[in-house]
C-alpha cells in the first residue's frame, strides 16, 4: 500500500478526547454516505465535557427536522492515521449508543471507494494513489 491510502470499515475504532485534554472515550465509527456530517448520541460529548459550539437543523430519514447541538471534539482514528478537531453533531437518540456515524463531512478530504464483495472502504488522499495502491 502506498503512502496516503487506507483500507477499512464499514466499522472503525475511534476515540474522542475529553475536555480535560487527557481522558478519551472509545467509540465505533460507521461510515455512512447517507449522513452529511458526523452524528453522535448527544450524551457522549456531554459526558466528555466537550464545548457546544453551534445549533443546527437536521433532516432525518422520514423527512422531519430535529435540532442538533454541535460540539467541537478532537477525533482520533488510528486506521486512517487521522487526528484532528471535527464537528460532532449531538442528537437526542432514543437508546444510548457508542456508535458514531461518519458522514460526508468526514470523507471530504478523501477519495473513497466501496468494494462491495469485500465490504471494505478504500480511502486515499488522491485518486492516483488509490488506483496505484489497490487495483
Amino acid at each position: 500500500m502506498s503512502f496516503g491510502s487506507w483500507v477499512t470499515g464499514p466499522q472503525i475504532d475511534m476515540t474522542v478526547r475529553g475536555a480535560d485534554g487527557t481522558s478519551t472515550q472509545a467509540l465505533i465509527g460507521i461510515i455512512d454516505t447517507g449522513a452529511s456530517v458526523i452524528c453522535t448520541d448527544r450524551r457522549i460529548p456531554v459526558r466528555l465535557g466537550l464545548t457546544a459550539i453551534n445549533l443546527k437543523t437536521m433532516i432525518v430519514a422520514d423527512g422531519s427536522e430535529v435540532e442538533a447541538t454541535v460540539f467541537a471534539g478532537e477525533l482520533t482514528i488510528p486506521a486512517l492515521d487521522f487526528q484532528d478537531w471535527v464537528e460532532l453533531h449531538g442528537m437526542a437518540m432514543k437508546s444510548e449508543t457508542n456508535r458514531v456515524l461518519l458522514g460526508r463531512s468526514f470523507m471530504a478530504p478523501y477519495h473513497v471507494t466501496y468494494a462491495g464483495p469485500e465490504e471494505r472502504f478504500y480511502f486515499s488522499r488522491s485518486p492516483g494513489r488509490l488506483a496505484e495502491a489497490e487495483y
Partner: protein
Amino acid sequence: MNAADLEREIRAYEAMLPELQKQHGAVWAVVAQEKLVRTFTAFADAARFVNAHHADGALIRHTNQHKETAPFVEICA
C-alpha cells in the same frame, strides 16, 4: 456554552451575516459575547482557537451553513 447562550450568539451572528459574507465570503466565523472574534478557512483551526482562547465557549458557524441530513429512524423529539 448552554443552548440559551448559543441562541444569543446565533442572533448576533445572523445580524452580522450579510456583512460577514460580503467581507469574508465562505468562512468559519467565531462569535463570542455577540461580537465577531475571528474567521477561519478550516473548522479545525477555529476549534483549536476556541479551545485555547475561549474557555467559556463561543459560536463556530460557517457562513454557508445549511440543513444537514442524518439517516436516523429513532430519535427523541
